[in-house]
C-alpha cells in the first residue's frame, strides 16, 4: 500500500471535494442527454441515414433546400405565411413538385403550373432534397420502379377506377379540365408513371389524396397502365381533335364542313349555261 496510499487518499479526498457531487450529476445528465440524443427518434433517422449512406444526401438536400426553398417554406421547412410547412409531406411530394417543375414556384397564382425544371434540379438534386424533407418527419415515399410499371398493370380494371375517380376533373383521356377560381386539373399526358403515382398519394394543389387504403398500390398501377396506354394509342378514327369531346367536333362541322360545302355551292352556281346565240 506504501506508495499508493497517498494517491488513494488523494482520490478519496477528491471524492469528498465539495464540487464532486456537482461534477457527477453533470456527467450523469450529460451521458443521459447524449445517449438519448443518439438513441432517440431523430437519432434513429440519422443512424439509418448513416447506415444506408444517405447522410450525405440529407446534408446535400438541406443545403439545396436552404438555397432554393427556404425563402418561402422557412429555414427548417416549418412554413411561413407564404407557403406551408413541409414537415411530414414526404419524399413523394418533393419528387412530384420539383421534378414537374412546379416547385420552386414562379409566382403566387391560384395554381403552380407544370414548367421546365429549374437548372439545378437534376435527378440527384431532387433525390437529395427528397431525402432531406423525408428526414424531417416522414410521409409518403417515392414508389419503386415496379410499382409504377404500366406493363404490370391491368388497363381494363385501371380504366374503371380512372373513370370513377379521375375523369370528373382530368377528362376521359386525361386531357385536363377547368376547376373553380382559376384552378385547373392539368393534362396527364406529360406526367411520368412515377409522377402520376406520387400525385395520387400526395394530392398536390387542388387534388385530393388517394392513399393506399382508398386505392391500393396495385390498383394505382392498373390506373397508370390505363392512362399511359390510352395516351399512347393512335386514334383509330383519324385526328383526335384534341380528344376533348363534342365541342371541337361541332367547331369542325361548322368551320370545315360548312365552308367546304359553301365553296362547292358557289363554284357550282358560278357555272352559268352559255346563252345560245
Amino acid at each position: 500500500m506504501i506508495g499508493t496510499g497517498n494517491s488513494v487518499n488523494s482520490i478519496t479526498a477528491r471524492r469528498r471535494h465539495p464540487l464532486a457531487r456537482v461534477a457527477v450529476v453533470t456527467l450523469a445528465l450529460g451521458l443521459l442527454g447524449g445517449g438519448y440524443a443518439l438513441a432517440g427518434p431523430n437519432g434513429g433517422a440519422a443512424d439509418a441515414a448513416i447506415a444506408s449512406g444517405k447522410a450525405d444526401d440529407v446534408a446535400q438536400g438541406k443545403s439545396l433546400f436552404v438555397a432554393h426553398c427556404a425563402s418561402c417554406h422557412g429555414l427548417n421547412a416549418e412554413g411561413t405565411a407564404k407557403a406551408p410547412t413541409l414537415v411530414g409531406v414526404g419524399a413523394a411530394a418533393v419528387d412530384f413538385q420539383v421534378s414537374t417543375g412546379r416547385m420552386p414556384a414562379a409566382d403566387a397564382g391560384p395554381q403552380a403550373p407544370r414548367k421546365p425544371r429549374a437548372d439545378w434540379a437534376d435527378d440527384q438534386a431532387v433525390s437529395d432534397l427528397a431525402a432531406y424533407v423525408q428526414s424531417l418527419g416522414g410521409g409518403p415515399t417515392r414508389p419503386a420502379a415496379e410499382e409504377v410499371d404500366p406493363a404490370k398493370g391491368d388497363p381494363g380494371k385501371g380504366g374503371e377506377l380512372f373513370r370513377a375517380n379521375c375523369i370528373q376533373c382530368h377528362n376521359f383521356v386525361g386531357a385536363g379540365g377547368a376547376l373553380t377560381y382559376g384552378k385547373y386539373a392539368p393534362p396527364l399526358n406529360p406526367a411520368t408513371p412515377t409522377q402520376i403515382y406520387e400525385a395520387m398519394v400526395t394530392g398536390p394543389q387542388a387534388m385530393p389524396v388517394f392513399n393506399d387504403s382508398t386505392i391500393t398500390p396495385e390498383q394505382k398501377r392498373d390506373m397508370i397502365a390505363y392512362i399511359t396506354n390510352v395516351r399512347e394509342q393512335t386514334d383509330p378514327g383519324g385526328s383526335g381533335l384534341g380528344r376533348v369531346g363534342p365541342v371541337t367536333e361541332g367547331l369542325v362541322a361548322w368551320v370545315v364542313g360548312l365552308s367546304l360545302l359553301i365553296l362547292a355551292s358557289i363554284w357550282i352556281t358560278a357555272k352559268k349555261r352559255r346563252a345560245k346565240a
Binding site: Q168, T180, V247, G250, A253, V256, I268
Partner: protein
C-alpha cells in the same frame, strides 16, 4: 333527228299510255330553278339525310339495342374484361371488329352534324331573305318542325351507344323531365320504365331513332320539297326578273346535273370528315355508369345552347306545399328553346300582322333592305351563340385561362346585353349598306380615274353601275306600313285605337319606314352635290384620254 331505237320506244310508249308519265315529265323536267349559291344550303341537309338513312341502315345490322349486362372480350384492349351494356358492346364491335364499321359510324355522326348545320344555314338564308313570306308560310312551318325533329333525332341517336357521354346527356334529359311541375316524375318513370336508368330506355330510343322520327322526317321533307316545287323557288331581284317569272336553268338537264354534283360534294365532304377526323370516340368515354362523369361532358353542337343555358342559370328553387319547383333546370331547358322555336314559327305571321302585308312575294329580299328583320335575326343569333359558347365554358376556362365562375358571370350579363348591342349594330350596318346602294345608283361606282377640273380642282370620275348590279339594287321593294293617318277630325282608324292597335301602328311605322329611299339620287351630302354636273359631264367614254 334519228328516231330512237325500238327497244326504247316500245316500253316507254307502253308506260306512257298507262301512266301518262310523258306529259308529267315534259311539264316538270322543264321546271326552272334560279341560280344562287345560298339556294343550295338546304340541299346540304337533304343530302346529309340521305347519307344518314344509308349509313344508319348499315349500323342497324350490328347494333344491339339492349341494356343487358355483358363482359367485354373484344379487340379493344383498354376495355378488356369490363362489364358493360350489350348496346355499348355492339357499338364497340362495330367500331373495332366490323370491316368499315368505324368509318360508317363516323360518317353517320358527321352527316348528323352536317344535317343540322345545313338545316340551320338554310333556315337563316330563308329568314334573312324573307323567303318565308306569303305564300310560303306553311313550308316555313314544316321547316321549323323538321328542325325540332332533327334535334330530337340527334338526342336519341346520341344516347344509343350507351357510352359515358351519352349517359350524361340522358341524365340531363331525365333531370329536365323531373323538373316539369306535377307530371315530371310520371313522365320520367314512363320514359325510363321505372327508376333511372332502368333497362328500357335504349330499346325505346332505338325505335324512336330508326323508325318513328325518320319516318316523319321523310314525310315532311317530301312535303317540303313538293311545296317548294309547286310554289316555285324564290329568286334574287335582277334584270328581267319579275314576281311572275323565274329566271334560271331548267331542272333537266342543267339543275339536275348541278344538284347531283352537289350531292357528291356533300357526300365527299362528309366522307372526308369521317375518314380524317375522329368523332364520338365511345371507346375513350367508357361504358355508362351513373356514378361517373367526365370533365368536358358536352352534347353534340345543336344541343349546346341548352347546355349553356343550364350552366349560366342561377340556382333558383321554390318550395311550395312540399313540392319543389326547380327553376334552375326548368327555365334553361324550356325558355330559350321556347323563345327561339316559337319565335321562328310565328315570325311570318307576326310580320304580316305588323306590316299588314297580304301580297304574295316571290323575290328573295336582300337582308339590308329589311333592317329590322335582319336585326331581329342577328340579335337571335347572338342570343343563341352566347348560350352555345357558354355550353363549352369549362373548355374556354381551361384553354384561355379565364376563371370558370368569371365566364358564368360574364355570360349572365352578356346574354341580355349582347342581343341588344347586336340589334343596334346590325340596324346601323343595314342602313349604311342601303346608303351605299343609293349612292351607287345616283353616282355610279368609283372608276379610279382622277380628273383635274379647269378650276384646278381634282375629282374622281364615277361610272354608272353595271346593268346587272343596278337592277339587283333596284329590286328593293318598300315594306308596307299600316294606315295610321287620322281622318279629317283627328280620329285614328278604328283598328288603331286599342292599346294593342296603337302598338301595332307604331311597330308598323318603325318596321316599314324606308329611311334611305333609292329615289333619283338626291340622298347625298353637300360636297358631292356640288359636283353633280361635272360627274354628268365627265362621261364614261372619256377614260381613255386620261390614261
Amino acid at each position: 333527228m334519228n328516231a330512237p331505237p325500238k327497244a326504247i320506244t316500245g316500253p316507254s310508249t307502253f308506260l306512257d299510255d298507262r301512266l301518262g308519265a310523258g306529259s308529267f315529265l315534259k311539264r316538270n323536267l322543264r321546271k326552272i330553278f334560279p341560280d344562287h349559291w345560298s339556294f343550295l344550303l338546304g340541299e346540304i341537309a337533304l343530302y346529309s339525310f340521305i347519307i344518314l338513312l344509308l349509313t344508319g341502315t348499315f349500323l342497324t345490322f350490328w347494333f344491339k339495342p339492349s341494356m343487358g349486362e355483358v363482359t367485354y372480350f373484344g379487340s379493344y384492349r383498354e376495355l378488356y374484361g369490363v362489364r358493360m351494356s350489350e348496346a355499348y358492346q355492339s357499338a364497340l364491335h362495330i367500331s373495332f371488329d366490323v370491316r368499315g364499321g368505324l368509318l360508317i359510324r363516323q360518317i353517320h355522326h358527321w352527316a348528323a352534324l352536317m344535317f343540322v348545320v345545313g338545316m340551320m344555314a338554310h333556315m337563316l338564308r330563308v329568314f334573312f331573305t324573307g323567303a318565308y313570306r306569303k305564300p310560303r308560310e306553311l313550308n316555313w312551318l314544316i321547316g321549323v318542325i323538321l328542325l325540332t325533329l332533327a334535334l330530337l333525332e340527334g338526342l336519341t341517336g346520341y344516347s344509343l351507344p350507351d357510352d359515358l357521354l351519352s349517359g350524361a346527356g340522358l341524365r340531363i334529359t331525365e333531370g329536365v323531365m323531373l323538373s316539369i311541375p306535377v307530371i315530371g316524375t310520371y313522365l320520367a318513370f314512363f320514359l325510363f320504365g321505372g327508376e333511372y336508368p332502368g333497362h328500357d330506355v335504349i330499346s325505346r330510343f332505338y325505335t324512336i331513332h330508326i323508325l318513328l322520327i325518320p319516318g316523319i322526317l321523310l314525310a315532311l321533307i317530301s312535303a317540303h320539297l313538293i311545296l317548294m316545287w309547286v310554289q316555285k323557288h324564290t329568286q334574287m331581284a335582277g334584270k328581267d326578273r319579275t314576281e311572275r317569272n323565274v329566271v334560271g336553268a331548267p331542272f333537266y338537264p342543267a339543275f339536275m346535273a348541278k344538284s347531283g354534283a352537289f350531292f357528291l360534294f356533300t357526300f365527299g365532304v362528309v366522307a372526308l370528315l369521317g375518314t380524317f377526323a375522329q368523332i364520338n370516340p365511345i371507346w375513350l368515354f367508357g361504358p355508362y355508369n351513373p356514378a361517373n362523369i367526365s370533365a368536358g361532358s358536352q352534347p353534340d353542337w345543336y344541343m349546346g345552347f341548352l347546355e349553356g343555358a343550364l350552366r349560366i342559370m342561377p340556382p333558383w328553387e321554390i318550395n311550395f306545399l312540399d313540392h319543389t319547383l326547380t327553376l334552375s333546370v326548368l327555365i334553361p331547358a324550356l325558355v330559350p328553346l321556347g323563345i327561339l322555336m316559337t319565335g321562328l314559327a310565328l315570325y311570318p305571321f307576326i310580320e304580316q300582322w305588323v306590316t299588314g302585308d297580304r301580297r304574295e312575294h316571290h323575290f328573295a329580299e336582300r337582308p339590308r333592305n329589311n333592317p329590322h328583320r335582319t336585326s331581329i335575326g342577328i340579335s337571335s343569333i347572338t342570343f343563341y351563340g352566347i348560350l352555345w359558347l357558354l355550353g363549352a365554358n369549362d373548355l374556354i376556362s381551361a384553354n384561355f385561362h379565364i376563371d370558370l365562375y368569371t365566364t358564368t358571370l360574364i355570360g349572365r350579363v352578356v346574354i341580355f346585353v349582347g342581343p341588344a348591342i347586336a340589334y343596334w349594330a346590325t340596324y346601323r350596318i343595314c342602313i349604311g349598306l342601303q346608303r351605299k346602294d343609293a349612292e351607287v345608283l345616283s353616282h355610279g361606282v368609283e372608276s379610279g380615274v382622277i380628273k383635274r377640273m379647269p378650276s384646278g380642282e381634282y375629282i374622281e370620275v364615277h361610272t354608272p353601275a353595271a346593268e346587272d348590279i343596278a337592277e339587283h339594287i333596284r329590286g328593293k321593294h318598300e315594306i308596307p306600313v299600316l294606315e295610321s293617318a287620322e281622318d279629317g277630325e283627328g280620329i285614328p282608324p278604328k283598328s288603331a285605337r286599342t292599346p294593342l292597335g296603337r302598338l301595332r301602328t307604331k311597330m308598323s311605322a318603325a318596321y316599314g319606314t324606308d329611311h334611305v329611299p333609292l329615289g333619283d339620287g338626291h340622298v347625298h351630302g353637300e360636297h358631292e352635290e356640288a359636283h353633280e354636273d361635272e360627274h354628268a359631264a365627265v362621261g364614261a367614254g372619256e377614260h381613255k384620254q386620261l390614261h
